[in-house]
């Protein structure tokens, strides 16, 4: 019972994250959306770790590693967003155009 609550919450987080990714143009919101999706997936993985008899420690190790990776990615993303905002005054990507 409690397990499926964790799994469903994880799925909901992933859904909110995907919505944010698709519907928000502001880059900071997109970075947050990525973090939501990642957190949802980790919650799902954590729930998967306690199925069956006893507790499987591997998902915990994986989640901690994953959080570190997500933190580094977010830090880089936010740095780039700040650099873009300083250079152009906007925090959205310019329209899809390839320099010719």
């Amino acid at each position: 019972m409690s397990l499926s609550i964790f799994a469903l919450t994880g799925a909901a987080l992933v859904g909110i994250g995907i919505y944010g990714l698709l519907a928000q143009a502001h880059l900071l919101r997109r970075v947050i959306a990525f973090n939501l999706i990642g957190s949802g997936l980790f919650l799902f993985l954590g729930a998967a770790g306690s199925r069956g008899i006893g507790i499987d420690p591997i998902p915990q190790a994986l989640i901690i590693t994953g959080i570190v990776v997500a933190l580094s990615a977010s830090a880089l993303a936010v740095t780039l967003v700040v650099a873009l905002a300083r250079a152009t005054g906007r925090a959205t990507l310019p329209d899809e155009e390839t320099p010719r």
Binding site: G38, T65, A73, L76, T98, P99, R100
Partner: protein
């Protein structure tokens, strides 16, 4: 065991050294680190060549609890190719900085980023654990994005951010597949997964992982981030981004579809992958034809050249694996990965030399430049031969192997893609060649030292040499090859 640890840790140590050492010693430290890692890659290759695949269990823990690393023929072939391209890029960056004087940001950042990228690539090449591969992929993406944006110009930062959005989406899709795989089987080791009891969610997991990896490999229609990103980076970084970075996700795709879950490869899914590859060959080639800047032509050509590799999936995967032609198709695709890496790196490095000489990479500004820079013009022509797939280059061997397999399998459509893609490559590479070798006299290009010009020439010669002496790399690739691709034609 020791050579493998050296291969993984030397670039990391060198990256730390390039940050910690005083400014004057940084470039030298990067050069020493590159040389040492190149030696380690060759050392691993020699050991694997003599004694077969090398295994390493981290901390002595066996999978499924521990993480297994293995260097097989494919890993070491990619490792040596990567080491050659990386060393060339480090040399080219040093000569470029000595000639043109980079900004302080590039002078500081490029060495640790190149070396960190190298360490992450080596980790992906030898890893046998799906989650470990995820971490490796993320490390590759983070260093690659930073390399794209390193100049700090608004256009480069925007290209880097767009690349980061694609890369993170790809990573999360891949991670979702890994989570599903773990919750279904409780293990992530490729060899253990090959022996798993299949469950219905495997198809979803494999589909999610494949979609994520395709976005990172820039297969059509996920290629839109690649050309602006690769064209925005400094030339030595572009060489790494185009020649090496997509190969990591491509290798994981090969490991998934041929080693971890070959039983899930249905005819329809393999046909989809092959079809997307064929579309990438055509679409990348057509877009390369209409570009006006050399770096963008070369970047779109990467989209097309990566497409060829996917033709091996319908020829050698799934039910085709048991057929006599599968070995040829699989090995041909791996040859394509190796020869494209060498030739494409050479081409981006020549673009860097042209930009240093005339300050632009517009085709109109490059007219007659081969007269002023004959070595670089020759290097460009040599790498073009490999990309077109003309004999005796490595690209020819790759296409020849895949084409014989396509005819043997009676799937002639793929052979038509190989021929058509070669013609398209000839057409889009003709335009820069015609400009370079035209009779116009260029307006006083800046002198470029010969030792810098020699770097891309060496890489292009290696790409041709891969075809001239194809027997040794062919045998190397067979070491530890997935058993499904049985003895060939």
């Amino acid at each position: 065991m020791t050579p493998m640890i050296a291969l993984l840790t030397l670039p990391l140590l060198a990256a730390l050294a390039t940050i910690a050492l005083p400014r004057r010693a940084r470039a030298a430290a990067a050069g020493i680190g590159a040389g040492a890692t190149l030696l380690a890659a060759i050392w691993v290759a020699v050991v694997v060549w003599r004694t077969g695949p090398m295994d390493l269990m981290l901390g002595g823990w066996q999978p499924p609890v521990g993480i297994g690393l293995r260097a097989d023929g494919l890993s070491v072939a990619l490792g040596v190719m990567t080491a050659l391209v990386m060393s060339a890029a480090v040399l080219a960056a040093r000569f470029e900085h000595a000639t043109t004087g980079p900004g302080p940001r590039i002078a500081f950042g490029i060495w640790p980023l190149i070396l960190l990228l190298w360490a992450a690539l080596n980790a992906v090449f030898v890893s046998r654990d799906l989650f470990n591969l995820y971490v490796g992929l993320e490390l590759i993406s983070l260093s690659a994005v930073a390399l794209v944006a390193i100049s700090g110009k608004a256009q480069a930062v925007a290209a880097g951010l767009r690349y980061l959005l694609f890369a993170l989406t790809g990573s999360l899709l891949y991670l979702a597949g890994v989570v599903l795989t773990y919750s279904a089987h409780g293990m992530l080791d490729i060899d253990l997964l090959a022996a798993r009891t299949p469950v219905p969610t495997d198809a979803l997991a494999l589909g999610l992982m494949t979609a994520g990896l395709l976005a990172k490999t820039a297969l059509f229609p996920f290629h839109v981030w690649l050309p602006p990103a690769h064209a925005a980076a400094p030339a030595p970084a572009s060489a790494l981004l185009s020649a090496l970075v997509p190969k990591a996700s491509l290798l994981i795709l090969v490991r998934l579809w041929f080693e971890a879950m070959p039983d899930m490869a249905t005819a329809a899914s393999l046909l989809t992958l092959g079809g997307l590859g064929a579309l990438a060959v055509v679409w990348g080639g057509v877009l390369a034809l209409v570009q006006a800047r050399l770096k963008l032509i070369v970047a779109y050509s990467t989209v097309a050249q990566l497409g060829y590799v996917f033709l091996a999936f319908p020829l050698a995967g799934g039910a085709g694996a048991a057929q006599p032609w599968s070995a040829g198709a699989w090995t041909g695709a791996m040859f394509q990965i190796l020869s494209h890496g060498l030739a494409k790196a050479s081409m981006f490095l020549t673009a860097g030399i042209f930009i240093a000489a005339v300050g632009s990479d517009r085709l109109g500004d490059l007219r007659g430049l081969a007269r002023a820079l004959p070595m670089t013009g020759f290097a460009f022509a040599l790498s073009a031969i490999t990309l077109m797939g003309l004999p005796p280059s490595g690209g020819f061997t790759a296409k020849y192997l895949m084409m014989t397999s396509a005819f043997a399998a009676d799937q002639r459509g793929w052979a038509a893609v190989l021929v058509g893609g070669g013609l398209l490559a000839a057409a889009y590479l003709y335009r820069p060649m015609a400009a370079l070798f035209s009779a116009d006299i260029p307006a006083a290009p800046r002198a470029v030292p010969r030792r810098w010009q020699a770097v891309p020439l060496w890489l292009a010669a290696l790409a041709v040499g891969l075809g001239l002496m194809s027997a040794a790399p062919f045998d190397l690739l067979q070491i530890g090859r997935p058993d499904i691709a049985a003895e060939g034609l």
